[in-house]
Amino acid sequence: MAQLMELDQAVSELIHAGDTVAMEGFTHLIPHAAAQETIRQGIGDLVLARLTPDLLSDQMIGAGCVAKLIFSWGGNPGVGSLHRFRDAIENGWPRPMEIEEHSHAGLTNRYVAGASSLPFAILRGYAGTSLLGKTANIKSVECPFTGEQLAAVPALNPDVAVVHAQQADSAGNVHIWGITGVQKEAILSSRRSLVTVEEIVDHIDLRPGGIVIPSWVVTAFVHAPGGAHPSYAAGYSERDNQYYSDWEAISRSREGFKQWLDEVIYKGERR
């Protein structure tokens, strides 16, 4: 059964240096508060898995938490480059960062295999691309019925999944609606899971399009209203587009980023 915790306790109990951490939220419900708490606690050497490394990943990478990034698209959506991500890959700053690169379909299916306790998943993917030679985690497999060659990716089974959701009930059953992305698979593929929520409710009143993740596959849940900011939580908040725009200037230089890190993460209030 899921345990109700404070954010700092949940992060320190569930996320350990060296862990493989899936932080998911596909353009919606991005678990920024938990990621920033991870930076604040200086938890390093992480293997960060995320389909769409965006500001969350840029902040963790710039802060030096990430030893390896498993991803499929890294950018500032609607704005442009991800400067800390680029600086790490182009210049090894603030530390060398290994990458394992996929397509969305490929990385998604790594989670699906993980959630299904299968060692691998098959897909029609990667054919004719240069991605094929860049990781040992894309192979091929032959259909035993037709002889066709398909792409194969291994299961991803992170140590811990971190997601943000709209609601949990007091037992820790989690309620997500709107764009649900790959969060269910992230939780089900991981050994532990940390869910921050906008609101803790007495009783889940299932919304149209809503899914419930039962308490007994969740390790810890945390009341963290606004925990997806600057992304949004449908029904609770709007995307803070200005923050995404502003991030361009903040993150462009190492100095600007370090100042943000110092002011916002280490000394200040999360924004």
Partner: protein, 273 residues
Amino acid sequence: MARRGDLQGRAAMTEETNEDQSSYSRQEMMVVAASRALVDGQVCFVGIGAPSTAANLARRTHAPNLVLVYESGCIGAKPTRLPLSIGDGELAETADSVVSVPEIFNYWLQAGRIDVGFLGAAQIDRFANLNTTVIGPYEHPKVRLPGAGGAPEIAASCKEVLVMIKMNKTTFVDPLDFRTSIGFGDGAGSREALGLRGRGPTMVITDLGLLRPDPVSCELVLTDLHPGVSLEEVREMAGWRLRISETLSRTVAPTEAELTALRALESAGSVKK
């Protein structure tokens, strides 16, 4: 004497349409041309930026029944303003169905249910292969780009692909620094050899003109020049000796209705595109 014919045609056409060119930008011409490439009732897999603008413009003009599918899982989205991200709340709210990311890739894209996929890129080569991964060597890139996202499987599985890319010396290159998604590979027969189901790119829509694959060799051929663009300008921009169609056409300038709809869409849209 294909080339001469083209040059003559071009000269004639340039004069006809010159008068309109101060009233719209080349970016607008590109978006309008892309929008026109969509047929009403088609199912279209849309990313963010110019492709999304083009698809939404089409829905507001000649293709009201275009079905927009976003990789965030929104099927049949009907946004009233341009989404800022593929996960914009409005996409989910207006969609016929919102499904998980695994489902959108496995049951919808991979299954070949999408008529048209839109792709952009940082680089394109003569066989319409695309690079959105790195400039320079992969291990030590000069510029690290966002990467693949949904592109490799959009390129593989949509019935056809439309590419939108501004044409200049850094974008039209051969060879690519990295092949993120496949167009026609090394030319005729490549897609078939890889077992790909979709037909591949049927049109490359640029700010200067339109290119289509040669039906036999699959090499891109310039088939249409936008108003006010010279053939020399286009030739100069390509990083290879660009093939020009014997029947080169001149794109019809954006109509009043198209420009009005496009500008309404963009002004109702986002802080940033």
